[in-house]
């Protein structure tokens, strides 16, 4: 098992299915990356690149 720390862009790439990670690997990230990802998705939504539904967690109003 190899442990990888991933940054925000990498995390977004993994979430988008652009980066595939072998099941044997373990991914880690500092908690701040969640805020960075949220901000990146919000900015992308503001730019019209993604919908608000795609960016948000889906459990907010």
């Amino acid at each position: 098992m190899t442990r990888f720390v991933v940054d925000c862009e990498t995390l977004l790439g993994i979430a988008a299915g652009e980066i595939e990670v072998a099941a044997e690997h373990k991914l880690l990230a500092p908690t701040l990356v969640r805020s960075q990802a949220l901000a990146a998705l919000f900015e992308a939504a503001r730019r019209g690149e993604i919908s608000a539904g795609e960016g948000s967690s889906g459990d907010t109003d």
Binding site: M1, T2, R3, F4, V5, V6, D7, E9, T10, L11, L12, G13, I14, A15, A16, E18, I19, E20, V21, A22, E24, H25, K26, L27, L28, A29, P30, T31, L32, V33, R34, Q36, A37, L38, L41, G55, S56, S57, G58
Partner: protein, 155 residues
């Protein structure tokens, strides 16, 4: 965010990480600790740091010139994978083939010195971090079973 929240990623942010991030940022002369948290977490808990930020990777790499790593970061499962054995050194940086055809620009291993492992005393665990940059052109990357490393001394 739903997909991110459902990923099997361990998120960490305890006091040991904060202390180490502070030291990393201080050592590297950074104005904030944001990037330092990634470097610190790699030092403490991981084998590699994967970043798309070339500037950050270069900074981490530059820091490695101050101290040489004390041990190999070769993955325990050896050097086999999805045909990923090819590696070559190009001075401090090297290109490593991962997956089938994708290429990752790999910046050499760096050691940021003695770090505090989570739950360990300072200095008890000498860790190392490796940073490599995903090329902008890479749209699909498969992290192989084992990642070819760019270790000093390997040719």
């Amino acid at each position: 965010m739903t997909r991110i929240n459902s990923l099997k990623v361990r998120f960490l942010g305890d006091k040991a990480l904060q202390r180490t991030a502070w030291k990393v940022a201080d050592k590297l002369g950074w104005e904030t600790t944001h990037d330092a948290e990634f470097v610190a977490l790699t030092q403490l808990q991981a084998d590699f740091f994967v970043t798309s930020d070339g500037e950050l990777a270069r900074a981490v790499r530059a820091s490695s010139r101050r101290r040489r790593p004390t041990r190999s970061a070769r993955p325990k499962n050896g050097g086999h994978g999805h045909g990923a054995a090819e590696q070559r050194r190009c001075g401090g940086a090297c290109a490593a083939s991962v997956g089938r055809s994708e290429t990752v620009s790999c910046l050499s291993e760096c050691a940021l010195g003695e770090g505090e492992d989570l739950g360990r005393r300072h200095g008890e665990h000498k860790s190392r971090a490796t940073a490599f940059v995903l090329k902008a052109a890479v749209t699909h990357l498969v992290l192989p079973l084992s990642v070819p490393l760019c270790l000093p001394g390997l040719g």
